[in-house]
């Protein structure tokens, strides 16, 4: 097998030995290094420097070229030379109208895609007037109860022209149904809609913990979203398989990718079981990863994720189309890395994380606001975050060469180490009984909690420096900051529209459709999307649908591990 380097390894070994004996030793005698051993944030040992010896065993085909299997160097052959990544700042607060205003502001500032954050009741399937929603309506995201809210959210925005991402999981199919119903009412062509719904329920049980029903019916709903979109919305990503939340819940970067791959393969298996050809749906599977602080490790992580996915799709699922094998991902900088002390430093953290995402070949990017350790971001914080991406794109020239770090001894070595470790973990998951069994046993959750705990201890003893928190601390710092205000009229405004919808709809029709929904839900061969679209179009609330299905499926409760 041909490999990257043609240099004579023996000569290199000798050169390296001489260098260590002479130059390195001379310096070490004058001054020792900062540490005895260096590690990446994820715990991979890092050598003093890397040479061709560290890449000599990597098959050159594993590195390949951009847009070519196994896509290590990028999913497309021209990447940012044709079009920059989509600059997609997430937004959501208050009612549909409130968020619609923020959307229009971001578009006016040069944002190229929309991304929607929903409030906790919407994410968890409660109507805004449910007791569990008290205090949460429109606070962390936009409140959506009915199709009328969706109409307000996208008022004046052409859904055929801009791609829209929706960050929502256990209730994703209802939001997707509302999106479809809205587009149909406007006379849009479903095959022209582009965007993404997160709908990655497995990582909810593992990390983000937004779930309603037990795992099995929840995965069936995801399966239905994927098959429905494959047949009706050819440009739409019906799932965004996410490592981001696994990382934010505390995991290592390695586990972020490995666990995401375990989840992704589970979805593919479920859809293939319906008889759908893998190449019919796999091209629209999209991913979402975090951009963490360890610059080179993150780039290696993204490159390894692409290579691993390509190999899984080809070798395990027999995909034939290149589109089924190329991993496309959205990236968000790491919210958990943001600090309250000296909060403006968050701009620098975010910049470096964003640069890693770009050098790692992300398809779209959200950069966090500097004030997000306090509250959801202000308009000003979002503007600076967006400008951060625009500076990287327009002023640094980093987007002109594809995978500029490809071929780096260090990067290629770390990429391959990542690949090998990811496959080892996937084998372990299989041996131990599969993803769903291990979720039920808390196996993933335990790994995440362990790394989170280690991280907390490392921050405490300064092993993991965090500027402003355990290093260069400013005593008695007073934050000079204006945060995003919560409008106390939000819940009333929202509930009033909800009540109007309830008062003006045909309740007999809703009742009839809800009974049909139960019949569809009982029959796993049927797809839950069409009946849900009918329901939301008739004015059913999210709570109507969720509660009806709860009578059939019940509620999931986890047995927490720590």
């Amino acid at each position: 097998m041909s490999t990257l380097n043609k240099e004579d390894p023996k000569q290199l070994v000798k050169q390296l030995e001489l260098w260590e004996d002479n130059e390195v030793n001379t310096f070490l005698n004058k001054q020792p290094e900062r540490e005895d051993n260096f590690y990446t944030l994820g715990g991979f040992p890092v050598k003093r420097t890397y040479t061709a010896l560290d890449t000599k065993d990597i098959p050159i085909d594993d590195i390949g070229l951009p847009g070519q299997y196994p896509f290590t160097r990028g999913p497309y052959p021209t990447m940012y030379r044709s079009r920059y990544w989509t600059m997609r700042q997430i937004a959501g607060f208050g009612t549909g109208e409130d968020t619609n205003n923020r959307f229009k502001y971001l578009i006016s500032q040069g944002q190229t895609g929309l991304s929607t954050d929903f409030d906790m009741p919407t994410l968890m399937g409660y109507d805004s007037d449910h007791p569990m929603s008290d205090g949460e309506v429109g606070r962390e995201g936009v409140a959506i109860d009915t199709l009328a809210d969706m109409e307000a959210l996208f008022d004046g925005i052409d859904l055929e022209k801009i791609s829209v991402s929706m960050t929502i999981n256990p209730t994703a199919w209802i939001l997707l149904a509302m999106y479809i119903a809205l587009a149909k009412r406007r006379g849009d062509d479903l095959n022209k809609l582009s965007g993404t719904v997160q709908a990655d329920i497995l990582k909810e049980y593992v990390a983000q913990k937004e779930y309603i029903y037990p795992i099995s019916p929840s995965v069936r709903i995801v399966r239905d979203c994927i098959t429905y979109c494959a047949e009706n919305m050819k440009r739409y990503n019906p799932i965004n398989i996410s490592g981001y939340h696994i990382s934010e819940a505390g995991s290592s970067p390695l586990h972020e990718i490995a666990f995401t791959m375990a989840n992704a393969t589970t979805y593919v298996e479920e859809v293939v079981k319906t008889g759908m050809d893998v190449d019919q749906f796999a091209p629209r599977l999209a991913f979402f990863f975090v951009g963490q602080a360890d610059f080179f490790e993150e780039i290696a992580k993204f490159r390894a994720a692409r290579r691993v996915w390509a190999k899984i799709m080809k070798n395990q699922f027999g995909a034939k189309k290149a589109e089924s094998m190329r991993l496309r991902f959205h990236c968000q900088t790491a919210a958990a890395s943001l600090t309250k002390p000296q909060y403006k430093v968050n701009i620098m953290r975010t910049t470096v994380q964003a640069l890693a995402a770009v050098l790692g070949g992300a398809q779209s990017l959200h950069t966090n606001g500097m004030d997000e350790a306090f509250a959801i971001p202000t308009e000003e914080a979002m503007k600076i975050a967006l400008r951060t991406q625009q500076v990287i794109a327009d002023e640094t020239n980093v987007a002109n060469v594809i995978d500029p770090l490809g071929g780096s001894y260090f990067l290629e070595n770390l990429t391959t180490q990542y690949e090998n470790k990811i496959f080892e973990i996937l084998d372990e998951v299989k041996e131990k009984g599969g993803t769903i069994k291990l979720i039920e046993e808390g196996w993933f959750q335990k790994h995440i909690a362990d790394f989170a705990y280690e991280t907390a201890l490392k921050k405490q003893d300064g092993q993991k420096p965090v500027i402003g928190v355990n290093k260069y601390v400013e005593e008695n710092e007073q934050a000079d900051i204006t945060t995003h205000p919560y409008d106390s009229t939000t819940a009333d405004r929202q509930i009033s529209r909800l009540q109007t919808v309830r008062a003006t709809r045909d309740n007999n029709k809703i009742e009839k459709l809800l009974n049909e929904l139960i019949e569809v839900a009982k029959d796993e061969r049927q797809n839950i999307m069409p009946i849900t679209i009918e329901l939301v179009d008739a004015g059913a609330t999210m709570g109507d649908i969720v509660e009806k299905l709860r009578t059939l499926w019940g509620t999931y409760r986890e047995n927490p591990v720590f």
């Binding site: 906790m120 008290d134 606070r139 965090v466």
Partner: protein, 135 residues
């Protein structure tokens, strides 16, 4: 040596952020305290009932959803109704600075916000129990 400090850690409402509460649970357990964690998505009633039944010294509420000014008053009121107002209530998570004083005024004894080192959490809780004295 006295009995170990008993702590109930709770997630209330719809907020699923449990990274912090699990780190705290493990920290307190490693420090020799008796730790009970309610798991996610509990109501104020469930949490207060559990605190009373388990006869805990400390009730720790973890909130990162922004709903603390709605949820905390309910919990304080329920504790009083159940004759358990001597339970030491601490809040952890994301709380804006301007809400710290109102929370303390309603009886929350301590706020453990982002990046509070584990050792400091243990020390502050031990001090609160010491200040309260034996029950």
């Amino acid at each position: 040596m006295g009995l170990p400090i008993r702590v109930l850690l709770a997630k209330v409402g719809l907020d699923g952020h449990d990274r912090g509460v699990k780190v705290v649970a493990r920290t307190l357990r490693d420090a020799g305290m008796d730790v009970i964690y309610t798991g996610l998505h509990r109501t104020p009633e469930e949490v207060v009932n559990a605190a009373v039944q388990e006869d805990v010294d400390i009730l720790g509420i973890s909130l990162l959803s922004g709903a603390h000014m709605t949820i905390c008053p309910k919990i304080m009121q329920l504790l009083e109704d159940k004759d358990a107002a001597d339970t030491i209530v601490v809040v952890g998570g994301v709380v804006p600075d301007e809400d710290v004083t109102p929370l303390k005024e309603m009886g929350v004894k301590e706020l453990l916000l982002q990046d509070t080192p584990p050792k400091e959490i243990v020390a502050r809780l031990e001090k609160l129990v010491e200040e309260r004295g034996p029950r």
